[in-house]
Symmetry: C2
Subunit: 414 residues, 2 copies
Amino acid sequence: MTLLVHKYGGSSVADAQRILNVARRIAGVRDTGAQVVAVVSAMGDTTDDLIKLAHSVAAEPEPRELDLLLSTGELVSCTLLAMALRGLGYDAISLSGFQAGIRTDTTYGKARIFQVDPARVQKELREGRTVVVAGFQGMTEDMDITTLGRGGSDTTAVALAAALKADRCEVYTDVEGIYTADPRVVPEARKIPEIDYDEMLELASYGAKMHPRAIELGAYYQVPIYVASSFSDAPGTLIYHGPHGPRGPGESAMENRIKVTGIAYQTNVAKITVRSVPDRPGVAAALFEPLAAAGVNVDTIVQNTGVERTTDISFTVNRTELARAVREVQALLKKLGGTEVVTDPGLASVSIVGSGMQNSPGYASRMFRILADGNINIDMITTSEIRISCIVQESQVKEAVRLLHRGFHLEQGP
Amino acid sequence: MTLLVHKYGGSSVADAQRILNVARRIAGVRDTGAQVVAVVSAMGDTTDDLIKLAHSVAAEPEPRELDLLLSTGELVSCTLLAMALRGLGYDAISLSGFQAGIRTDTTYGKARIFQVDPARVQKELREGRTVVVAGFQGMTEDMDITTLGRGGSDTTAVALAAALKADRCEVYTDVEGIYTADPRVVPEARKIPEIDYDEMLELASYGAKMHPRAIELGAYYQVPIYVASSFSDAPGTLIYHGPHGPRGPGESAMENRIKVTGIAYQTNVAKITVRSVPDRPGVAAALFEPLAAAGVNVDTIVQNTGVERTTDISFTVNRTELARAVREVQALLKKLGGTEVVTDPGLASVSIVGSGMQNSPGYASRMFRILADGNINIDMITTSEIRISCIVQESQVKEAVRLLHRGFHLEQGP
């Protein structure tokens, strides 16, 4: 029997009417004979509202308490969806994260799943029920409730799909799939019917809507992930096994694919530069170890060796973490031997992503040329196997996305 | 070290400001050196709002789903109170019902506690923390979440006090204690400084604000329960060990107590009468067993044998259960051999309560005389060891309370 794990985001379950819509959608799938496990996020802005409530009683809410508080958001939506399904005549049961066997470490606020015990979910499926699971949450070995961080419900869904050996994990959201670029920025952006995990990982890390952790997990356990809209029946995007996966060579869309799959961008990037640090071993570690210990997420890192045996080290963080990161770096400045800390809070990143690029040179230079012709200055550059990213002024990033989408002819399709 | 269990009702934690007030109150108690376990209800109307939400997606929400949904209300308030305490510099931790070791049967919506495992609470107390526990909820052996029914948070508090061998369970609410009658109905009603469990049980069952299950539990485990206002420092009412408890005979206020302790009333009473049932053994069982199986709570039962070897059986239910009860009874009518089912939905009960009454005759006749002089007709009468109740028209019940309060001179005190 086909077993599908569905995931519905906050906008898909934002009110009673939308929850009933989701219930009808699941009912339709049940009518085809498939089994469904549905993972849900909290309704609409519930999580943000709960965070505000916490801040109304305490300046710095304890992370453990905050997690137990936030976990209620998904409990509300999952029980309501189970009730709605029963109301339509389809047997259903809701399970909290811990009831669904989601076991995590104790990193409150961004816990990692270390195990999924699917016994209870399997028992309920055997009894013919649709199982509705509260996403975003789990339980530690000490029976404390944790949350998985933003995008955690995607991770819950893929982890359950892996543990249950589901045929597919279907992520329903408010967009119809993965696009070559953000359609709000590039009107001619094209929906991508299929994309492999690595490409999706780069797109997700740099702007497209899907949590990279979930994709990593999907890639590791070879769970096919289908991203589509919960508000329409338009076909979505399948994030699938690479060419070495179950797909046969004859079926692969790989060979005919154009080299650049999509353009991603990310705003709210801030850059911190530590000037004139002595160019000696261990300086980078002395800077980034304390930052990591302080929980500052560092994105791009660039080190430029200058004259006179000193170097400038630059790195980017999300703008919301800038003040904290600067405090940490200022405290380290003397020990590092640097002269000053300089910041630029108004940056963004733009990336071209495509697994086809790795064996084909010339993409980087073409990207730089397109940006230069558009009078867009490049502040920093980083590359991965299948991605080239440039840090630019935030005010220019949308124009950069449009220019690159056009320059690489992404509107034309494979 | 003194260990107190506090319980705060929904109105005491209705918003952030009130939660901070409760936190300051607990902080004050902590400053005296006492340990505190605080049990909280959901904020304000949260539970009612969640029930409405459930009914917006399903006509008849599944009880199990509803319980998991409703349990979120207390999780929100308990995490917020723990955060508020930490914000004031007092170490605190919130525990859900199941984390606090509350184990229940599987009667969703009105589960009974069968065990409290206090290990986790004790561990947190040993670490010097105030423990904030989500009231009203527990977990079954299959790890399903249950709720204890209305007033369940009182029961959680007393059960925890019993399991922890706490010195006292203090129930903070929006009234200053237990009164000789509802002060909104009888302006001269007097606060009762001390009352024993049995009297309180009768008062609580018939209108005063404290869940009878909690009092039963307190009586069984001899937990002194102190009821007071969370909005003032006025002394409240101590529900204490009876004369056979730890209180010495010299300290007892028992001997000088007037015979009637208080007047209780209850509105929303509906009466169902099954007419002309054959007067033979087993008829009552044939009626009430199916009603019990259908979950209909029957209060007063009166059977009047008439002429011609038939009898009328009357009983009362809460008005909200009338339609369901009538459906059940109609289905049984033929089997019972009755002629018709008659209902009166507009009734109320009024009771005089006092343990002193049991050895002193004449209270019943005096009660009936007071009501008769007030032109209040009595529809049904029931008595217990320490209570005499009359069912009257709902429109007359408040006048009945006032007349009885005056007639038994309750404004004068012991």
